[in-house]
Symmetry: D3
Subunit: 186 residues, 6 copies
């Protein structure tokens, strides 16, 4: 125990159903310390004609995209400076907060600002965590940065963490923390 | 839709059941973009005698403590420098990583090290996020720091984020990022 | 078969639950010709804390009043010419259609008009039928009329049928058919 | 809430399942004033081998015909004076009650009697209502009559209501009320 | 997996519910080789007003007595030659088959016949097995016999097995096999 | 009532599902004296992707073989003295107990011993009963023996009962009782 039954409309892909069973399993683990083999999740799937809300048959809403995949795509595009591709993943109200500067809303701003910080930077990911919180999917990506300072000296192993909010399949907020200033001060 | 039924043993407190329904609701939202009023969660509760696994009646495992409450208690104890109280919330394998120093395992180490950084520091929380990931509860607390530098000058509004892993009701890992070095460099 | 499970919030009275099981049983009979002993209805009742829609615990909406009881009360009040009591059971948009006259909206109109038809009339009910249709409860009452013509002669056994629409616990429409003209013409 | 799950054998057509979900939705609305989007109906369908009553696998009983469709077919046949076709829709114990005459059991009786009332009559339907009540499906059809009196004068807009009882796919009772006498008396 | 949900009326004692969960668990084990911790049984209990078959609320039938307890009581009564007590546990059509004699229907017959076999006999039980088969509960009791032959010599360790059919709480059939003749022949 | 729902993985054959519904029906009958038409069993089958235990999708374990079929095959092989075929159905720890001799573990022992008892023996089965008890399937076969004594004389109608324990698809224990000695003593 516990046993969870979820009733959904037919039409979701295997991968989407696996994500749902995984999320429901984690939801149980968050509250009940049952051994893993005692947490069962079962999905009942209904064809459209066997389900009605308010007397009306319904089509299944397309599953939300995996927010962590979206975030990793975005970060890869930014690392490659493919701004247009990255831009396409942002919501209208997008805002980002980086260490030591005011909030920015355009990727071009970020690129400009970073020119005063390093020649380039690459991310190695230690872990990516994604979950839902109210109306948004939250993604945390953390790991270490490597790259070159403006003077051409190399750096690596600098800790970072990025937090993203994803709404309706678009990134609407990015918050970044890292040890760059710490390392430069040493 | 979707509709989630969870079958649990009798004995959980109202607050614990609310946490479970909230976690299950968020699990659904993570995958299916249903409108809020279409996501229903129902808990079936069974008295011990009406439930058996492997033919054996079972008692309910006590619910896990709210990990975010534990983390806030710990942070409050640390701010007040009540090390013994804070220590009691840590697991045996506790390790913490702070900006600009090697990983530490004892709170006394942290206190010593911080003496070279500031006289004191206070946290204002903007948000705390908690979720489960595999065998651990994860808590993120973020906001701003205020306090006094070693020279007595005041500081405030410095962004921070802390990540905690909680296993079996104990904190086993703390990772901290903040803009202290960034601010001092300016 | 079929077997019907209905999930409801705790708080409904026994009589209300019986009405719900009866209505669900009739719904099945309307489509599937199962023998009576094969139609099972079971109600799962949830305390408030064990049920959430959109992550929000809900209180049960008070059950709707029995519409046939309301209609019989109204007809009794009209027969006794207790117009104020009858009026209280009518919705704002109330309208009624009687044989041989234009639609009326006020009970006083009806009383006036009937003075040209008979001294008094009493209803004997053969059957009352109630069911739901979209946003309204529908009630049919049928039977025979007895009373006195304007000349003092008695009449009886005149067939009638009344149709009512009940919305939100109020009568919003009454349609009446009967054989009065037929009998008078003979 | 409420949520209704109905367990049925596989083999019903989409239209039949829609009728069942509609009937169950109306059954809930009859007692609980939930908003439409909170009333969910789900059908679980079982292949024969996955269902047993008394240890015996069962085949699904063919769904009952739509009683309102049957009634409208019957009324169309009567209007066209296709007595044989209409007769085929009647049960053995069929009886009908019309205004101003004794109960009749044969369609030929009705046709004879009507010859003394009008040359022909046509029905315009305002609404048809069908529901189940115990062992019978009940159908009410109402609207207005048009046609020609015996003297060739046309009439129209005369209110009528017909009530039918349908058992085992056959009409066993018809009751008719209308304002014909009322109109002729004017 | 598998998970079994049984829906029953409220009113059964804890011991009766435990018997039902045990019997359902054994039913699953009979077909599916799942590990014990993966076989879950849950009982949903309904108050009378929340359950209807054919639209009629039902009272729970009293649980059947444990047939193995009945059989052991009967065997103890027979061993103590309390024939009246034993008789009360027999159904009208009771019949018994013992080694080396024709079927008997009265306990007195059995007692008479046994006088030509031994002075007395006692049963030591190795195991009792009970299960349902169609309309009857079946009980098997097996173990060893000890006692005294007619010449006063003691015997012991003679294997026996008894089979009983229990219908409606009464024993209707007893079949006995044992090694008495085998032992006497040696 | 009662109604039993069993949740299983997809992949079981019709015959296996019938065995499971039959076993569950008998489990209910063992405790609740409901009329047969009121005991309903329904199987929910889940494709692999719609079921997870501990967050892991599972494949269905192959159904256990019918233990009574195994036992009858074994007894047929023994009657035909096809020892190798019979041997293949036995578990490593197999042991058998026959009337009037010590427990044996090898079929050859049994064949040798029987040569001092009769030339050959055939079984006519009156009934075979199979059920589960804890970790083993139990099979009882009973009926009458016929054959030839060592002196060539024929015998028939001698009562017997065999009890088998089947674990993991192998026979691990056989216990035999019969009236052979009884008959020879007469």
């Amino acid at each position: 125990m516990p046993i969870v039954e979820a009733h959904i409309l037919e039409g979701y892909a295997s991968e989407e159903k696996s994500r749902l069973t995984a999320a429901l399993t984690d939801a149980v683990r968050f509250v009940v310390p049952a051994p893993d083999e005692a947490i069962t999740v079962m999905l009942h799937e209904y064809p459209k004609e066997a389900y009605a809300r308010g007397g009306v048959h319904r089509a299944p809403a397309p599953a939300l995209p995996k927010p962590d995949r979206l975030v990793l795509d975005y970060l890869a595009a930014m690392e490659a400076r493919e701004l247009e591709r990255a831009e396409a993943m942002l919501g209208d109200s997008f805002v980002m907060a980086f260490p030591g500067t005011a909030p920015m809303t355009a990727l071009a701003q970020l690129v400009d600002w970073s020119k005063s910080r390093y020649r380039f930077v690459k991310k190695s990911y230690e872990a990516v965590e994604a979950f839902n919180s109210g109306g948004a999917a939250i993604v945390y990506a953390r790991g270490t940065l490597s790259g070159e300072w403006l003077d051409g000296a190399a750096f690596e192993g600098i800790r970072f963490i990025d937090r993203f909010e994803v709404v309706g399949g678009k990134i609407v907020r990015q918050d970044v923390w890292n040890d760059i200033a710490e390392v430069r001060a040493q």
